[in-house]
Symmetry: C2
Subunit: 402 residues, 2 copies
């Protein structure tokens, strides 16, 4: 057997993260909602050891969601209630929750109708489930607004082409590109009319803003614990209506042909137990904070709008996506910073460099013309520091600031 | 939107684990190999925040396994080398690695040949991939030895019945029931002869004992970070030979019908990125320790055999599975403790109670006739405490001790 040389192993000792919350203002759009609470940090260490959640696995109902110590079973019920859905499970990722939905509600070759701003993981979850994609268009720049009425057209189109309704309809509640909030209830109504299950991808919404699944007409809500619930990765949330439990959380039916073994307790599409450790516990430990923080969403929005307003003072700079912002994920277009980059010795990297010098990270290095940022959860003071830094950099680059 | 009452949320504050390593000797057979190193504990906190691994995601190769800071890309290479395989990925669970194998190498309706002591997750991973199961028998008590030659018969049987070879052959290297170590190389040879991909489930072996994939003739090795690599859950390992990369790590081919979006970088069966946070980092941080500890496997085995020898001194008590032990997972049968339980006021729970009173946990509560335990990684002193405790309890129950 080969041996890995000791000197090569040295690189795994003392692994450090540079961009910790204590040291930087991190505007990375996928990271703001996943910053741990101090409760979650403590819980991580308590349940760090592999399978540490399984100490009290009930022998007769051996399944993660049945464990009462720590209160995982109760958490599943509270999670469902919080989203106003009937049943919830924690799975490994939001994308896994989508895959589970697609593979249990669809047969290979079936269609799923999705919005054209959906995350790549929506597309490949469908691909893995062997489903086909039909996209609902958006209106392009500057708003990139989805044409939600087109959901009906696309459902009709699938029916016409295949003689069959789509297996699932998916809407990305807030998209990762422009942070547009969509009227989920409108799509919910269309789905109800056609009798097609409606999957709402709430990766950017549930956990940071209030979500009422019943009011939105969602049959399934999926979300991401590490994106929006102050939890460690990987954690996904799958919440559904009672009517779908038999299909989506179907128990295993496989029988060993020689041994005659059966595993009738296990939810086969989840592959049985899912997140049997620290990330689940971090999600639970942050839950009281999350329940409370969604009530402060209006203040978060107000802060995001303030940031946009300040950034738009910079020459040639505007927010893309629907205005005013209905979500804290912001996509800016800046002809000004782009112009400056053309003559700067660091080219497009100057913006990243200048921000980092000021203790601000999270913008994609190299970008100036289009960049995304998210001030969610930052104090007013830190947001001021961000706006001040951007305006300073603009001034230094001789851009006009209104 | 419903609000969860504050008093109900209180239960998620201050989540504590009772059975921490500092407080108990935990013999739980699934937990011994997953106890974190102190390096892993520190790394957990560094990378606790959701998506904290993604600070330096390379924009042009945006994928978890391409990240160089922290050294995830290098880790994938070292992991493959350590197992003497060509390519490795970290996925969310060993069972997910099995599912990925089944779904990428098989078509719905195909067969997979498995050993009849395989874990339930093997069966349901096949079920989710819509494959059928053909089992290789074992010889029953007391050894429960698998008939490895029967792999050839079962492959022939599948061929006869379906006109097609099985999609995959799976062997559980060490089974969860009796801890029997199987001669993987023998099955590797059979698979090679038939040209069927050989998947070795090394959940109980890789990470605790030396594994040489090439020597064993494995085409795919899967393992579990939280079971055997001193990592937090959920973490699975998928290692494969170069020849299978095109199929198993195939890039996404889906195209948006309206947007024409493509995601050709993403490995679709992994759903793109997998463990983008703390558990992966814990696996990396423990890796230097794991590389070193597998060399101490002979001492671990010796200790397990000593424990068996001591337990077998108790009246009516014997080890099941192949003797002498080739793995530290031990299955004991005790007519003695069972007899004692019949008249004990706590019935079958007395054994659990008496051990816990002595600071020892991890046996399934209620069991006396059959119980499993695993001394992996315990100091000699602690193993002595375990044997002493068992013998003491036997004495108290008036069982003969040789």
């Amino acid at each position: 057997m080969p041996r890995i040389p000791k000197e090569r192993l040295g690189r795994y000792l003392g692994l450090k993260r540079e961009f910790k919350e204590e040291h930087y203002i991190n505007l990375n759009p996928i990271q703001r909602g996943g910053v741990l609470t101090s409760e979650a940090r403590k819980a991580l260490l308590e349940f760090g050891d592999g399978y540490s959640t399984c100490d009290w696995c009930p022998p007769k109902a051996a399944r993660l969601d049945a464990i009462e110590r720590p209160p995982i079973a109760q958490f599943m019920r509270d999670l469902a209630e919080f989203l106003n859905m009937d049943v919830a499970r924690v799975v490994t990722r939001c994308r896994e929750a989508k895959f589970i939905t697609f593979t249990t509600l669809g047969e290979p070759g079936d269609y799923v109708v999705v919005d054209s701003l959906a995350h790549y993981s929506t597309y490949i979850a469908a691909e893995l489930a062997r489903l086909k994609i039909k996209e609902v268009p958006h209106g392009g720049p500057p708003e990139f607004k989805l044409d939600l009425d087109a959901y009906a057209d696309k459902i009709e189109e699938v029916k016409r082409e295949t003689g069959k309704l789509p297996a699932v309809v998916l809407l990305t509640h807030v998209d990762y590109l422009y942070g547009n909030l969509n009227d989920a209830a409108a799509v919910g109504k269309i789905c109800k009319k056609y009798g097609v299950p409606f999957l709402l991808n709430a990766a950017y919404t549930a956990g940071v803003m209030p979500i009422d699944g019943k009011k939105l007409g969602a049959d399934i809500i999926v979300s991401s614990g590490h994106k929006s619930w102050a939890a460690s990765a990987p954690t996904g949330i799958l919440a559904l209506k009672e009517e779908l439990v038999d299909k989506m959380l179907a128990r295993s039916k496989v029988v060993g042909d020689w041994s005659e073994r059966k595993f009738g307790l296990k939810e086969y599409a989840l592959l049985g137990c899912t997140v049997m450790g620290a990330p689940l516990i971090s999600l639970m430990a942050s839950f009281p904070h999350v329940v409370e923080r969604v009530e402060r969403w209006p203040q978060e929005l107000e802060q995001a709008r303030y940031l946009v307003e300040q950034l738009e003072r910079i020459e040639g700079t505007r927010q893309l996506g629907v205005k005013p912002k209905q979500h804290t994920l912001i996509h800016m277009e800046s002809d000004g910073f782009y112009k400056a980059s053309q003559t700067h010795k660091r080219r497009g990297f100057f913006l990243y460099d200048e921000l980092k010098r000021r203790g601000i990270v999270g913008l994609q290095p190299g970008l100036t013309k289009h960049f995304k940022l998210n001030p969610y959860g930052l104090s007013r003071e830190k947001v001021e520091q961000v706006t001040k830094s951007f305006l300073e950099i603009a001034n230094e680059q001789k851009l006009k600031v209104d």
